[in-house]
Amino acid sequence: MQIDRPIVSAIIIFIVILLVFFLVMPEYKAFVSLRDDLAKKRAEYDAERDYYAAIYKTYSELQVRQEDIKKIDNALPTDPDLGKIVYFLQRAAAQNSIIIKDMFLSRSAPANLPKTGGQPGTNAVKDITFSMDVLGDYVSLQQFIIALEKSARVLEVASITFGSSEEMPQENQTQFQLQRTYNVNLQVRTHSY
């Protein structure tokens, strides 16, 4: 059978045009789209993997520095641990010849700290303030305050008030060395989450 080449050529060109428009082009578009999706997925995967690798690295470092972490946990505990604070205050007072007459939790409020990028909704640092009336001489009071300031739990003396109505000492005495007992009011502040 003789093929009518001009007509067949024309039909083939027509078929080619149809194939290009209805098959090849859509496939090519799908190909480009899939290629982009694949690149995005790969980037996402790489980013997630790198992120969790960095998290793991930091986590491992934290595990190695458990001793330091424990110190921070002690200094800034998750719970107020009021019992431990009271125990420490009582112990420090006893060791420095200070008598605690009375003590009460005067305030518990959010600390005035700048935001440190914590997760939203997480608890902020709270200030816990104790008010105490204590009895003791000047040197003991001084040592007691130093003991509070150097404790592993972050403690600060927010205010100190004391006085004496007794007579002034003789001229050859230094008032800071007197064994006179004072009534002292202290405001001690600590922090927790």
Binding site: D4, R5, P6, V8, I12, I15, V16, V24, Y28, F31, L34, R35, L38, A39, K41, R42, E44, Y45, E48, R49, Y52, I55, Y56, K57, Y59, S60, E61, V64, R65, K70, I72, A75, L76, D81, Y87, R91, A92, Q95, L113, G117, G118, Q119, Q142, Q143, I145, I146, A147, E149, S151, A152, V154, E156, A158, S159, I160, F162, S164, E167, M168, F176
Partner: protein, 343 residues
């Protein structure tokens, strides 16, 4: 339109008609090939996407998320703690200041201190107005006194001057670095944390047999922190692509009193694992094996993939060219044959 041309084309045999015919056939084949190639490539890409999606499910497991949560919590806690330390004030410095600056013949009988505004309220007695004026002048000239106010003075019953005033101190005085810190006579054990009433383990002090590597940094730009496995005593670090790892100095933190060989400041060739020996104070040793890996070039895979489309197009063009060349060669061969037959 003159349709006789088509009729002439059908009746007469032109050589270029064969060329057009074979060319269109080859074009059809190339189009079908093109379609098939895209079809296969798309299927491969779809499979790759499914695989990566599955791989993504394996990243961010519950354990990893728990680690992430813990790390973020500690990051927040460390930041808060740093802020607290920065703002931490030492009120005892006020005592040191008073002891240092109080002149003879001045006696204070009331003392009030408030850390919020760094203010000290004082009242007391002075031998004479002259003694009081010298004391006030001394405070005013002091570098730590920002303001002296509310000064009142009157002659008391004991023939001494009774006075009161308020001092506003520079907040730097309460800083830990202030030179006014008092010498503590509190024993170190008393300075330790709040001791729990009942059973909590005490942390043992660093012993002479401790030989732990607690931190290992590669001194590169930027510095690379290695991960230390204290069980297998191995240290692993990944450095960016292209980093020369033949001469790297390190920074190592060890247990107190321990020493390390080779010295951290001696450059090491990390193309193969390097052994670091840590010697404790008691002479016992522990080896750590340090392995440094160079990360592959970032985006290398992506760039290869982004060139895939171009590669496919080039492949299709090459196929078309080969087919067209084949058609021309076939036609030339056929022409030669017909010429031979004619002769």
């Amino acid at each position: 339109m003159d349709f006789s041309v088509i009729s002439q084309l059908r009746e007469k045999k032109f050589w270029w008609m064969d060329v057009i015919f074979y060319f269109t056939v080859s074009l059809l084949i190339a189009t079908i090939l093109c379609y098939l190639i895209f079809l296969v490539k798309n299927n491969i890409q779809k499979n790759d996407i499914i695989k990566i999606t599955e791989a993504l499910q394996t990243v961010g497991t519950d354990a990893q998320k728990a680690q992430e949560k813990e790390v973020i919590n500690y990051q927040r806690k460390i930041n808060d703690f740093a802020q607290l330390l920065k703002n931490h004030t030492f009120s005892s410095h006020a005592f040191a200041f008073m002891q240092k600056e109080t002149m003879p013949n001045i006696w204070f009988n009331q003392f009030g201190f408030n850390s919020k505004d760094s203010q000290v309220q004082l009242s007391g007695e002075a031998d004479s107005l002259d003694a009081l004026s010298r004391q006030v002048a001394g405070f005013e000239k002091n570098e730590y006194v920002k303001n002296l106010g509310s000064l009142t003075a009157s002659l008391g019953e004991s023939a001494r001057m009774q006075f009161s005033f308020a001092l506003t101190l520079d907040s730097n005085i309460f800083d830990f670095s202030s030179d006014l810190s008092l010498t503590s006579t509190v024993s170190p054990s008393d300075q330790q944390v709040v001791q729990p009433p009942v059973g909590e383990e005490k942390t043992l002090p660093a012993g002479a047999n401790q030989k732990m590597m607690t931190s290992f940094h590669l001194l590169l730009e930027p510095e690379v922190v290695a991960v230390i496995d204290q069980i297998t005593h191995s240290v692993k670090a990944d450095v960016p692509y292209g980093t020369d790892i033949k001469k790297i100095t390190t920074s190592i933190v060890l247990s107190p009193g321990a020493t390390v060989f080779p010295a951290p400041d001696t450059p090491q060739d990390f193309t193969s694992p390097v052994k670091y020996t840590i010697t404790a104070q008691d002479g016992s040793t522990q080896d750590y094996r340090v392995l440094v890996s160079v990360l592959p070039q970032k985006g290398a895979k992506t760039s290869t993939k982004s060139n895939t489309g171009l590669g496919v197009i080039i492949a299709i063009l090459v196929i078309i060219v080969i087919i067209v060349v084949g058609v021309i060669i076939f036609f030339a061969w056929k022409k030669m044959q017909s010429n031979k037959n004619a002769n």
